[in-house]
Amino acid sequence: MVRELNLLTEFSQKSGIELDPKNIKIDDTTLRDGEQTAGVVFANDEKVYIAKMLDKVGVHQIEAGIPTMGGNEKEAIKKIASLDLNCSVLGWNRAVKSDIDASIDCGVDAVAISISSSDIHIEHKLMKSREWVLESIKTCVDYAKGFNLYVSVNAEDASRSDMEFLLQFARTARDAGADRLRYCDTLGILDPFETFIRVKNIIDIIGIDIEMHTHNDFGMAIANAIAGIKAGATYVNTTINGLGERAGNAAFEELVMALKYIEGVDMGFNTTFFRSLSEYVAKASNRILPTWKPIVGGKLFVYESESRASGVLINTKIYELFNEKDVGLERSLILGKYSGVNTIIYKMKDLGFKITRKEAEELAEIIRDKTVSLKRALFDNEIIDTYNSYRKKSSSSRTHEKGGKDGRSKK
């Protein structure tokens, strides 16, 4: 029986709970689910390079690809498995013996055996029955375990699965000797509350290691992964930049930083490496890295509005939980429509001009009008130019008022 939890009570009790970094492991699937994204293809050299970087940055397991695809893909996985990395290397398989044979052929130490657990998938996609699914799990786990592999059983579309059957699915995997169950929110349709209760039920009742595989279709991949961890999941399946089918998966860099700065769990990753890792994957996957991408976007530490800019000039903690250097980014200040006095004084000083508050106030108005007509922030040389013509105008009017002769009077 599925236990009835008082979801909201249990949920709120998990707020601020202490988590142990030793109990959380990252299994990165940039090379499998990331590459499976429509339009994305990595060259084999890129796959190998990404695997090396992931290992260097400290992930625990790499899902290297789908061996049964053969050809190029198989070669890349073989190569990665032969690199003698610190992390585990996993091959992705359907619940078919020949797929597992292909994985074994590649020399991986771990396999994921994937099969749908929802009736809609079982009936409409696999065109089989629940019994057939359970039987396939038994046969394949047993087979893979015979080769001494680490085995993850992936419950595809777990979120739309009947909970009773999902428990049966997990029990079958556990009894067959599987090392963990991957909970796949294949369509990204759970919120953190539903994720929490479903994962908690599986852990409490079946007692098997759980890996979270979340999708970002409704913008909840990271939150759901964290909800899973709070329910007791020990693995998270991530990708660099959240690369993955449709709206993508849980982004590696977001999860690691959220764990560190929101949940207080430092996994010990070398985060200063994040920006370059993200840039590499963005280029290899032929995708832009949005300047506002959480954690690694190029403009996250670029300030314009007076409210924020003047705050971080006093103390970055006023608006930041971590520093730009922590993720390999750079900080800068630009002037635009929302710039104010303090920011302008600072920026001008940076450009080599000492100006008064009054000047800054007048300059703010001019800069605002200019940015609205240009529809963008100003370049540094435009700021200098704007200031120079403002000086000329104000000193000539002052000269005029005073009737004096020195148009370049200094204060």
Binding site: L187, K293, K337
Partner: protein, 384 residues
């Protein structure tokens, strides 16, 4: 499981034109601002935050112009707590204002070099000005997620007593996850009787989830922006919140979602920011299927891999052929070209298409598939 999904009335307020524009480097022209209000109004967004009157003459001109139009939606101007700022708002003809005050000690002490009493007085004075100018107001607590809870509750009580009809909790630095959001909102709603609104940032990718957690915790309003445009990593995206409420929480806001892609595109151009193809809800890749498993599933029944129809958000479905395609996709794709392939032919072409895709490092155009097919047929003919 407890049922939270009732007939509660949930409000959303869009801040694309205020916090969205406040993003470093983003500037909208007057025409664009007016157009965006029109679009939001047309799809049924009930409340829109249009700008910051204290910013300067040019901003006030734009807001005044917006106020001349007749919109169904309620228009808000944003004011940092300061009596003078209220005057500027009144000059523009707005009837509703948001009064924002920092509430965390780090903001009060470090940024303003002041204390909590100063904040309370500032708020009271600004509220007085708002009443004097006959404006309706809500109060917004900046950095509320780092504020002392008792002080926050005190401020909320003051705001309520002084006539604020709603209170906004800002997670200014993205400090919260859904668990903490839920707990805080739940705590406040049980302590003070005032409608709560929550404002989230996406620094750790949790803006939308935190919005949903706030609703579950008892909040009745969320601040959103189109495409999530906003300072830093942005805010909770309008399209994500609306669709998540509808499909994950069974809360229907009655918004015309079929215009989402169009509006996102407009704001993308006006803010000079591309919509990533993978952007949740409105990205062009959301309904593109390549991998054998997914494409095969979608061909058999879209429900296998889709929660809602592409047309619901103004997108279209596409099957693309690449490294991860399966033979079913090839069969289906050629059927679209009016060519019936045998299973053997489909498998052969699949092999060729995969190799080409790895070689080109991308998926194939329809034309390229036809080239492969023609070459393949020629070769077969020769062999025969």
């Amino acid at each position: 499981m407890e049922e939270v999904k009732s007939e509660r009335h949930i409000n959303i307020i869009d801040t694309t034109l205020r916090n969205g524009e406040q993003t470093a480097g983003v500037v909208f022209s007057k025409n664009e601002k007016i157009r965006i209000v029109k679009m939001l109004d047309e799809i049924g967004v009930p409340e829109v935050e249009v700008g910051t009157p204290s910013l300067g003459k040019i901003e006030r001109e734009i807001i005044t112009e917006i106020m001349k139009d007749k919109f169904k939606c309620k228009i808000f101007a944003y004011c940092e707590a300061e009596p003078e700022n209220i005057k500027y708002a009144a000059q523009c003809g707005v009837k509703n204002v948001i009064i924002n005050i920092s509430t965390s000690d780090i903001h009060l002490k470090e940024k303003y070099k002041k204390n909590r009493t100063w904040a309370i007085n500032k708020l009271k004075n600004t509220i007085r000005a708002a009443k004097h100018n006959d404006l309706n107001f809500i109060v917004s607590a900046e950095d509320a997620t780092r504020a002392d809870l008792e002080f926050l509750l005190k401020l909320i009580s003051i705001a309520r007593k002084k006539g604020a009809y709603r209170f906004r909790i800002c997670d200014t630095v993205s400090r919260f996850d859904p668990f903490r959001t839920f707990l805080l909102i739940n705590t406040i709603t049980s302590a003070v009787n005032i409608p709560l609104e929550v404002y989230n940032h996406n620094d750790f990718g949790m803006a939308t989830a935190n919005g949903i957690a706030a609703i579950r915790g008892g909040a009745s309003s969320l601040v959103v922006s189109i495409g999530g445009l906003g300072e830093g990593a942005g805010n909770a995206a309008l399209e994500e919140i609306v669709m998540a409420l509808k499909y994950l929480e069974d809360i229907e806001l009655g918004i015309k979602t079929s215009k989402f892609r169009e509006i996102a595109e407009y704001v993308s151009r006006a803010s000079s920011r591309a919509i990533p193809v993978w952007k949740a809800i409105v990205g062009t890749n959301i309904f593109a299927h390549e991998s054998g498993i997914h494409a095969d599933g979608v061909i058999k029944n879209p429900k296998n891999y889709e929660v809602f129809k592409p047309s619901e958000v103004g997108l279209t479905r596409q099957l693309v052929v690449g490294k991860h395609s399966g033979s079913h996709t090839i069969l289906h794709k050629f059927k679209e070209f009016d060519i019936e392939l045998t299973d053997k032919q489909a498998n052969d072409i699949l092999g060729l298409a995969r190799d080409m895709s790895v070689d080109l490092k991308r998926t194939l155009f329809d034309k390229e598939l036809m080239y492969i097919y023609n070459d393949y047929k020629k070769k077969k003919k020769k062999q025969d």
